[in-house]
Symmetry: C2
Subunit: 126 residues, 2 copies
């Protein structure tokens, strides 16, 4: 296993799953937490998927559920909200550093390959 | 499902898996293909994992195996090599554009949260 520059061991599987990546990004942007309904909408998830992925994140200690705190959009009743924990925040930032490395490695590889083979490089956002 | 900015539908599950992400990055950098042994080493994979993930990528049409082409490092016998297909290359570039969006969204979220809560922002590579 020595010398494996593309092993990307830092891509924690708990975080790397597509839906959980969206959930953590949503929660990172919301220090006051998010209601389940908001999370569902932001991440395009069904109730079943939301519950399943939140459970994985909760068991890893990355998110916590606070009952009866926060306010609904209508402001009339307290809501159960979901929050990123300090551990979740730290681990997500560590993960993002590896993800940035993947993007850099792949972009470099694509440029090298395009140059050497005269292939067109598909335009990507700057 | 409307208005789901963090759904990241473009994160193709065939590509997003950690080991396959490493395999595609390795192959992107090698227009002349790579021998199985090189792929194993670059991605830190066992024989079993390498075969399993290459099969998924092959079935998706993203990589192809060419028998008896290329040369081993010792230069004495032809080797079976693995290559990124044009489809694989295009789809990987599309995926990378979404991955860059994830990194941007998450970095922005982290900065917003750190500012609003006075939290330290863990240093990440520039």
């Amino acid at each position: 296993m020595r010398d494996a520059p593309f092993a990307y061991d830092g891509l924690d599987r708990v975080i790397h799953e597509k839906a959980r990546l969206g959930l953590l990004t949503s929660l990172m942007a919301a220090p006051k937490g998010l209601a389940f309904g908001d999370l569902k909408q932001l991440c395009g998830l069904t109730d079943g998927n939301l519950n399943r992925h939140l459970q994985v994140l909760q068991e890893a200690g990355f998110v916590e559920i606070r009952k009866g705190q926060g306010k609904s959009h209508s402001g009339t009743r307290p809501l159960t909200t979901c929050h990123l924990t300090p551990t979740g925040r730290t681990r997500f930032l560590d993960y993002l550093a590896v993800l940035e490395q993947v993007v850099r490695d792949a972009a470099k590889a694509a440029e090298m390959a395009a140059e050497s083979a005269g292939l067109p490089l598909v335009a990507r956002p700057a």
